[in-house]
Structures are given as C-alpha cells and as structure tokens.
C-alpha cells in the first residue's frame, strides 16, 4: 500500500501550482506588509520637515490604507488556499487508511485494539493536516516576514541598530522550542489525572450499593479528594510552565525595545539617523516578535507531524496477509461441494495447531452439522472456508477448486455466513438485513426476515424496518440479533451457507421454525450448521463431532446415537435439560 511520505510528496506534486500560488501570495503579502512601518516613518520625517500639506497627508493616508487592505487580502487568500488543501489531504489520508484497513484480515484486527486504530485515524491524521495547513502558513509567513523586515531595516534604518536590538528576541524561538514540548507533556499529565478522577467516579457510582452498605462513603470521599488534589497539582505544573512562556516572550520584546530606544534614540539625537527611521524601527521591532515566536511553534508542529507520519507509515505498509494469489482465477458457478482435507492448521499468532487431521466431505446441496464443546475448533474450521483465516494451500476445496487458488471476491460471493455474535451495524434493521445484497427490495428483505422468523419481531417495532439498532436505537436481545443476522445471510442466497452457532440465543420454538424454513428454502444448496443444541443439527445429512481440534465422530444422527460416543452422551444430557425447560 502507499507510503504516507510518498502520498504527501505526490499530493504536493499534484497540487504544486496551487501551493506555488498560495505561497506566492503569502510572500507578496509580507512584502506589502513591511511597507507599513516604512510609510509611517517616511510620513514622520515629512511631517518633521514641514513637507506635509493636505494633499500629501491624504496620499499618505490612502497609501497606508491600501497597504493594510492589500496585506490582508493577499495573506487571507494564501491562508485559505493552504487550509483548504491541507484539509483535502486530511480527507485523502483518511480515505487511504480506511481502504487499506478493508484489505487487512481478521488476524490483524485480532491483535490490535480499535481504540489504537482510531487514534491513528484521528490524531495522527490531524497532526499531519495541522502541519500542512497552519504550519505551512505560519512558516511561510514567519520566514518571509522576518526576511523582508530585516531587508527593510537594513536598507532604511541601520544595520547595526537592527542587529544590536535583535539580540534579546533571537532567544524567543529557542524558548518556545524548549518550553513548548514541556508544556505539552505537563498538559498530558494533567489530562491523565483528570481521567483518573473520572474513572474513580464511575467506579464508585457503579458500586454505590456496596459503598452505602459498608458505610464507606467517607473513604470514597477521601479517595476522590486525593484524585482531585492530584489534578490541582498537575494543573499548576502546566501553568507554571505556560506562564513562564507567556511572560518571558513579551519581556524579550520589551528588552529589545529598551536597546532600540537607547541606541536608536542616541543615534537620532546625534543626528546619525532621522526621527522617521527611529519611529519605523520601533514598529518593525514589534513586527518581528510574532514571527519569531511562531517559528518555535512551527518547529513543534513539524516535529509532531513527523512522528505521526512515521506511525501512519507503519500502519499503511502493513501487507494484507490474505489476498488473491498471483494466478488466482474466478470461481466458476458453484454447485456447493465442500471438501476439507487438513493435516494441521495453526493461527498466525498461535504456537499449537488449532485443528489437526480433519477430513470432511459435503456433497453439493447437502447439510452438514458440526457439534462439539466450546474451544473444540468448530468456528476455526468454518472460518477457513471463506478464508477469514487462510488454510494451508491444497487443504480446502469448493467444487474441487482450492480456495487459495481462486479470487477472494468470487469465493466470498459463493458463501453466506452468520457469525456467532450476530454482529449488526447501528443503522436500521432494513439496512442491516439488506447489507448482504445491494439494492435489495423491501419485499426481498421482508421475505428474508420471515425465513429467519424475524418478521414478527419487526412488526412489534412502530417503525418496522426503519427501526435503528444499537447505540442510539432499540437494543435487540441476543436472539433477535442472531435472527437479524440470519435474515441478512439468507438474503444473499449463496450456494453455501454457514451458520456459526447462530441459534444459541433463540428459544426452542423459534429454532424449530427457522430450521424448517431453512430446510425448505435451502433445498438443493449446501448448508453448514454449527450448533450447541443438538436439536439444530439432528436433521442434517451428515454430522461431525469435533473435540480438541479434530474430528472424533461422524455420521447421521441415528448412526451417532447408536454408536454411543461423545455425541450420544451430549444428547442424553441435553434431553433431560430440555425436559425441564420445555
């Protein structure tokens, strides 16, 4: 995938004329701006010499106004363009990031927290953008303002006066560069103290019954007060540093002014420079302090952005570990024969094989049931089929084609899947079911919902299919989520359907309805059902029993019962249990 540095370079190249234009306009604005003190100085001299009359005064005034307006217009123009361009890059960077994430496999997301990834997408991208828009503006502004001010003072005032007066303010960028990161560090610590307090508050209120029942309110108050005191201490640490910076910078300016006043005044009294030059110089001095201060900030901006770019680079250069092989072909229309012949499968981050010695064959159009205890490898096994995790080459076949040799797109098109947790997006129920098929009609969605015995649930919602699920909407029960996920998978109507323990949270009657619907709707197509309750698989054409990563029994329900092994044992246990609940 793209390296963000190259991305940045390409972006610059692509927009080189835009950038040239905006930088040019900022530079032009500085050149205009430095005329301001010069004009005032000239005006002062003219006034002193008695050369100013009505029309001349008007001319000076208009010139001053023109310079003021010209500067603002030019600088504003450049600033706006740079800001817009920076935001466009921010947009493109986020887009690249998301597209990249879409290519990465489940094992990648298993190893990382969503919070960390979000942090990259928000803060790292933003700090690059800030450097690109604000940083660039300020840098251009500061460099050229500094340069043109110096040129102006050298030319019109006095090189020596300028150099001597500048000594105190040259310190400013270093001061900012040094104190800036320290202030940021202190601020971060203060933030941590603040979130410590919030955490304690949450902890305490959540356990309020315990606290009340143990008369522990006073102790909690003490603990809370400790946290609040820590905040005060940390905040004061921030303010000690920031106050230092805030008061030292103007002081350096004043110091420079004292030098200018003494030396410049002396030069004026001894008539080495005219009064106008002195006046202009004091104004220039005031203009110098801001860019110098900003240089320090820009330095910090770029430092942060460079660290962010590095992190983004690591992120974007991550290679997708599940991808089309070089000579991958599209899977021809699928009949649905599945063959698994696996010596061993080990997770990329695992040490011991999660599956070993598995040999399963499902004829096209048949139903396979998979049972076994928690952790026996059922989910791992079915995850190999749509290549959520990659099986070793030559172990998993559909219609005789190795899944590793076909394109991901065609493979996944042939498979529909219901995850264990019934993962739904927080959009409407209709959009969730319709997720598997773009442009599905409402009738199709309702039919899929009916097959999943979810239609009666939808009817209880006043907004029907438009009911929003999740955070800001209706909270669905585990069973309802599973049924929605089943409807979603059925809408896709793929040659192979996998249900990964997706009936665990629905009640017995609903399970019966769904199984019956499936048998009718999926006639002639391959279905793989993982189940905890045997009632969901007993009608399957073929059942395999997994234990500790391998197939221990296989056969039809009757065969397995007769055999009297693990399956028969689970069956006996569950029958008594059902006697109670039913």
């Amino acid at each position: 995938m793209d390296n963000p540095r190259q991305l940045l370079k390409r972006y610059f190249l692509r927009h080189r004329w835009s950038y040239a234009l905006s930088i040019l306009s900022i530079v032009a604005s500085e050149i205009v701006m430095v005329q301001f003190p010069h004009l005032l100085g000239a005006f002062t001299d003219a006034l002193q010499a008695g050369r100013v009359n009505g029309p001349a005064l008007l001319r000076y005034t208009l010139w001053l106004a023109a310079v003021g307006i010209g500067y603002v217009a030019l600088y504003g123009f450049g600033q706006m363009r740079n800001g817009t361009l920076g935001r466009k890059f921010e947009y493109e960077l986020r887009r690249t990031l998301f597209l990249h994430w879409e290519t990465l496999s489940t094992s990648y997301f298993r190893q990382r927290s969503v919070g960390d990834l979000l942090n990259h997408a928000l803060n790292d991208v933003r700090s690059v953008r800030d450097a690109l828009s604000g940083g660039l503006n300020i840098l251009t502004n500061a460099v050229f303002l500094l340069a043109s001010t110096l040129v102006m003072t050298f030319r019109t005032v006095s090189v020596r006066l300028t150099l001597v007066s500048m000594i105190p303010i040259v310190v400013v960028p270093f001061l900012v560069g040094w104190l800036g990161p320290r202030i940021r560090q202190a601020t971060r610590q203060a933030q941590e103290a603040l979130s410590d307090m919030a955490d304690l508050t949450e902890e305490s209120i959540t356990a309020i019954r315990l606290i009340k029942a143990t008369a522990n309110e006073a102790v909690e108050q003490r603990r809370f007060t400790d946290r609040v005191d820590a905040i005060v201490r940390r905040q004061m640490g921030v303010f000690r540093r920031s106050a230092l910076m805030q008061s030292l910078i103007p002081f350096m300016g004043s110091l420079a002014f004292v030098v200018a006043l003494t030396y410049g005044g002396y030069l004026t009294i001894t008539r080495q420079i005219p009064l106008g030059a002195f006046v202009a110089f004091t104004l220039y001095l005031a203009m110098l302090i801001t860019p110098l201060q900003e240089m320090g900030f820009v330095f910090n901006y770029f430092q942060r952005a460079s660290a962010s770019l590095q992190r983004l680079e690591v992120l974007l250069t991550e290679m997708p570990d599940i991808h089309d092989e070089r000579d991958a072909v599209a899977l021809p229309p699928v009949r649905g024969e599945v063959r698994i012949r696996l010596n061993a499968f080990t997770y990329p981050d695992g040490t011991r094989p999660a599956l070993h010695d598995v040999d399963i064959r499902v004829e096209a159009g048949k139903t396979l049931g998979i049972v076994g205890r928690t952790g026996s490898g059922k989910t791992t096994l079915v995850n190999l089929l749509p290549r959520i995790f990659d099986p070793p080459p030559g172990t998993v076949f559909i219609d005789g084609h190795d899944v590793r040799s076909v394109t991901l797109r065609s493979l996944r098109q042939a498979i529909s899947y219901v995850p264990q947790d019934g993962f739904l997006f927080s959009t409407t129920i209709g959009e969730n079911i319709g997720f598997s098929k773009e442009g599905a009609t409402e009738a199709e969605i309702l039919e899929a919902a009916r097959l999943a015995a979810f239609d009666e649930v939808i009817e209880t919602f006043p907004e029907g299919l438009d009911t929003v699920v999740g955070e800001r909407g209706v909270t669905l029960s585990g069973g309802q989520r599973q049924r929605a996920a089943i409807a979603r998978a059925l809408l896709k109507d793929a040659p192979i359907l996998i249900l990964d323990d997706s009936l665990s949270a629905v009640d017995m009657n609903t399970e019966k309805t769904i199984i019956a619907n499936l048998q009718r709707a999926r006639r002639g197509r391959t279905t793989i059902v993982i189940a905890h309750r045997l009632s969901a698989v007993r009608h399957a054409d073929h059942i395999v029993v997994l234990d500790r990563g391998t197939v221990v029994e296989a056969g039809t329900h009757e065969e397995l019962i007769r055999r009297g092994g693990l399956y028969a044992e689970i069956y006996r246990l569950q029958e008594t249990e059902q006697g109670v609940t039913a």
């Binding site: 005034t61 001053l64 489940t106 919030a198 508050t201 019954r209 522990n216 009294i269 959520i388 569950q574």
Partner: protein
C-alpha cells in the same frame, strides 16, 4: 445565570486571591500602558525637544526596563495566583458534588445514568472552572485594558480619542456576529468528526462481516460520504475563522490610516505634538486585542452557564433517605445482638405498583435464614429496605427492637453487611479491595479475613499476592475468586447482620466447594439473611422464607417445607432435575 451565581459561595475562601489578581492585573496593564507613554516622552522631550538629552534618554530607557520587569513579575504571579484560586474553587465544587451524589438514596441512582453523573463531576466542573479563570481574567484584564487605553487616549487628545470611539461598537458588533457563527460551524465540524469516529469504530470491529459479504466498496463509499461531509464542514469553519481574523486585522490597519489622517491634520495645525500621534497609533493597535478576547469569553460564559445548570440540578436534589433528627445510639445500650424484624412492611418503587405486601417476619440474633422465590418475588427488595436503600411506604423494620429509621445511616451500615451477586472490584491492590481502602484495617487484619474465608491460598497464587493490582473493568479474577474477595471484605468489616445475595454464575465444582466453605465461615457468629438461587445453599438454614409476588407464602425448615408440599417443594423438585443437567 442563577445557577452560576449559586456556585459563587465556593469561591468565597479565595476572595483575597481574586482581589490580588485584580491588583496584579492593574499593575501589569499599567506597565503596558506606560510603555508607549515613556517613548512619547522620550521622543517629545529628549529626542526632538528643544534640549535633546542623551542622559534623559538613558533615564527613560532605564525606567522602561524597570517597568517591563515589574510587568514580567506581575504577569507571572497573576497567572499563578489566579489558576491556584480557580483550581481550588473547582476542587471544592467537585468534592462537594461527589459527596452530594454519594449521599443520595438508591432512587437517585435508579433514575440518573452513571455516565451522566461522571460527566457532571469531570467535564461540567472543568467547563465551570473557566468562569473562575479565563472569564474572570478576561473581564478584569481586557476590561481594564480598554478603560486604560481609552483614558490614556482622552488624556492625550479629546477630539481624536472621540473619533476613535466610533470603533468600539463596530468591533464588538462584528466580533459577536462572527463568534456566534464560528461556534455553530465548530460544532458542525465536531458532530461530523464524531460521526466518522462512530463509523470507524463500528466498521473496524465488524470488518469480518464487511469482508465476508464483500461489501468493501459500499462501506468505503459510506465512509467517503462521512469523510467528505467532515471535510466540507471543516473547510467552512476554517474559512470563516480566517475571514474573522483577517477582517479584524483589516479594520486595525484601516484604523491606523484613519488616525494618521485625523492626527496628521492636528499635527499640521500644531494642535498636538508628533509624539502624541505616535502614541495614538500604538494605542489604536492595542485596542483590538481586548475586544477580541472579551467576545471570545462571551462564548465561554454561555457554555459555562449550561454546565453550571447541570451541576445545579444535581446539587438541588435532596436525598430522600436521611439521618434522623435525634438518632438512637445502638451501642450505648450494650453489645448489638443483631435481631432483625419486619413488621407489616409494604413497599413500591413506583407509587401504585406495590412489590411487597404486608410482609412480617422475625430473624432471631445469630440465626441463618434463607429467602427463596421466583425472579421478581421481592427477595432483593426486602434486602434493599433493610439496608435503607429505600424506605418502605408502610410498616417498620427493626434491629434489636429499634426502628432502623431512628438510626444514623452510618451506624446502620456498620451493623449490616452486604454481599452482592455481582462483586464490584476497585482499581487498586487486592488488599485495598478487601479493606475497601480503610486505613484502620491493618494488613494483618486483611490477611486474617482472607484466611478465614479460604481466600488466602487463591490470593497468594496471584503474581504479587496481596499487592496484585486489580482493575474495575479488566476482570483479572475469575467469578469464584471475586466471590471469595467479597467474603473476605465482610469478615474484615465484621458486621453483626449479613445479607448475602448468592451469585447465580456457574462455578466449577472445585471453586464451588471453596465458595461454599467461605460462605459458612462468613455466616459464623452473625445473623445471616441469604437470598438463595441454589436451594442447596440453604438446606440447613434455621428457617426458610418463601416469597411469591411480594407476599410470604410459606416459612419453615427445609424438612417441614418439603413435607408441606407447597411452593418450596415444587421449586425443590424442579431444581434437583436442573442440577443433573
């Protein structure tokens, strides 16, 4: 606004700090205003005056340096004092708010979400703190700057000063309009950014689903739309802020030109010396900063009022379970025996929906009583009344013959201990979790308590034993281990009466045995009331109370109840089948 004023008493102890800030701001502003004035004197008298004097110039320069130094010190001190005072006020408000929340009865927590309360304590107070720091400072400093600048201008020349005043309403007007719209756009950008965050969080978590249903392109398109909406909002916000800043700058530059025009004429007519014009040019530039800053604080004030309102609403709630006026001291009458009695108690969480009907029973001191019944039969409500999480509408509850409403809550809660189904852990060490951070419970007592319930072994096996850090959310203990810690807590606190809400979670047989032994250890020498979910727990209870729909339907020992063949016998039959499954 009123809610903000009601928070002012918290600032009272720091009134001198705030006064000090005003003095320091005066001093600092004085030095700022003095600086151009000193230059004016230097120009008019020492440089261009009839008797130019290098010595005079040096004196002025020396003064200038001194004034700057005073300014430096005043500014630094001011920030420290103000922030200290502001932080201290917020500290007081936070502690008061937290204390107030913890004092509330359970009814309050039933209706207020934890997340909202946390927001009140952490971020609302943070917002209010800006009132005591930024807002206060801006009013003092910027208000003062404006006044001083205006005064200085009028002292120099009334006519030019009056012309300059035209700027005031214009600047305020422009600034207010811009600021309001800026805030709107800022919020629009924020909203759209949080849409992006929500979308990403969900899609990263569900990437598997997207890939299996090969909907990458569709989701990329959806993300593109959100991303683009954010970009547009962000660009709009940025453009407006550039417009605002540049407009202000433009006005400043034009104002200087105008001063040159007006002042220039005055100098030409010898109405004012040149130094005055110079000072005017400096002052007019200084005019803009404070106005900009004041309008910015207007926004701050608005969000502060909203936050103060929210805090005020919480502070206004009076706890409905309170200490009595003249409490009875239980210990004054000799050792507490721990006899519990309910007398004709009726209770409803919501008026009209009674959950307990005329419940009466007596638990002799030191006995072990079990409560059984279906979910919703009222078992938990009984216990919530005994701990006074709620007060009953009718009847009374007594301990050793004293109505619990006549006891101080703290005294009551020292007599009664509670073990809940769900064990809450706090961020801290295992030892702290057992002693609940109470300093008066020694490490020895903690160990003894753990030993008594058989938690000792389990704890010693943890990486750092009693000093192992636990986390409230990251459950690094198993359910059984958590239960044992909860038992150890009770032994360490040593209440006379114990309420135990048995955990429903299924434990493996080894832990089950450990927990059962722990329970027996805890119950020893105490009056124990157990809400049982497994009937085996209370098989040997001195008495079993069977509840149904908020009424007591049966009481007696295990054997007596079985013989009777009522609800208990029915429950027992069902549960023994379940135990097999």
């Amino acid at each position: 606004m009123n809610s903000l004023l009601r928070l002012l008493p918290y600032a009272r102890p720091y009134v001198w700090h705030f006064a000090g800030v005003i003095v320091l701001v005066l001093l600092y502003n004085g030095t700022s205003v003095l600086q151009p004035y000193l230059v004016k004197i230097a120009i008019d008298e020492d440089i261009t005056g009839p008797h130019p004097s290098v010595h005079g110039l040096f004196v002025i320069a020396g003064l200038y340096l001194g004034v700057s130094l005073v300014g430096l010190v005043a500014n630094y001190t001011q920030v420290q004092v103000l922030q200290y005072a502001g932080q201290s006020v917020i500290r007081k408000i936070r502690v008061a708010l937290f204390t107030h929340i913890e004092r509330q009865s359970m009814r309050f927590f039933d209706t207020n979400a934890v997340g909202r309360l946390v927001t009140n304590v952490s971020s609302d107070t943070e917002t209010v703190s800006q009132f005591f720091t930024n807002f206060f400072l801006s009013m003092v400093r910027d208000g003062l700057s404006l006044v001083l600048i205006i005064a200085a201008m009028y002292r120099l020349d009334v006519r030019i000063a009056t012309y300059s005043m035209v700027l005031l309403p214009i600047l305020f007007g422009i600034s207010l309009v811009f600021r309001r719209r800026l805030r709107e756009r800022y919020q629009a950008t924020r909203t759209r950014l949080s849409n992006i965050i929500a979308f990403l969080a969900e899609n990263l978590a569900g990437m598997r689903i997207i890939q299996i249903f090969h909907q990458e392109q569709r989701q990329a398109r959806a993300f593109g739309e959100l991303n683009d909406a954010h970009r547009q909002a962000s660009v709009r916000e940025y453009r407006l802020s550039v417009m605002f800043n540049r407009t202000f700058e433009l006005l400043g530059n034009v104002a200087v030109a105008a001063v040159v025009w007006v002042g220039g004429w005055a100098v030409l007519r010898h109405a004012i010396p040149f130094g005055t014009l110079y000072a005017f040019i400096t002052y007019i530039r200084q005019f803009f900063q404070p106005i900009n800053s004041i309008t910015q604080q207007w926004n701050t004030l608005q969000s502060t009022i909203v936050a103060a309102d929210r805090i005020g609403k919480v502070l206004a709630v009076e706890p409905d379970v309170r200490d009595p006026e003249d409490p009875v001291d239980l210990t004054a009458r000799g050792p507490i025996r721990g006899e519990v009695a309910f007398e004709h108690v009726s209770f409803a969480y919501i008026p009209g929906r009674t959950v307990l009907h005329d419940v009466s029973f007596r638990v002799p001191a030191g006995s072990f009583v079990g409560f059984v019944g279906a979910t919703g039969a009222g078992k938990s409500s009984l216990m919530s009344l005994l701990t006074r999480f709620y007060d009953p509408q009718e009847g009374q509850i007594t301990i050793d013959g004293v109505d619990i409403r006549r006891l101080r809550l703290e005294d009551l809660h020292r007599v009664i201990g509670l073990v809940q189904q769900e064990v809450h852990l706090f961020t801290g060490t295992v030892a702290d979790n057992i002693r609940l951070f109470r300093e008066e419970i020694s490490d020895e007592a903690v160990r003894a308590a753990a030993r008594a319930v058989g938690a000792d072994e389990v704890i010693e096996r943890l990486p750092e034993g009693y000093q192992t850090r636990l986390f409230a959310k990251g459950a690094n203990l198993s359910m059984g281990e958590r239960q044992l810690i909860a038992f150890a807590r009770i032994v360490a606190l040593n209440p006379r009466v114990l309420i135990l809400d048995e955990a429903t979670a299924n434990l493996d047989s080894k832990t089950e045995a450990l927990v059962q032994r722990g329970l027996e250890a805890v119950a020893k020498n105490r009056t124990t009331l157990v809400i049982a979910h497994r009937l085996s727990t209370i098989r040997h209870a001195d008495e079993i109370v069977v509840l149904d729909h908020g009424r007591i339907v049966e009481t007696g020992t295990h054997e007596a109840l079985l013989e009777r063949g009522g609800l208990y016998a029915q429950l027992h039959r069902k549960s023994s089948v379940e135990a097999v499954g």
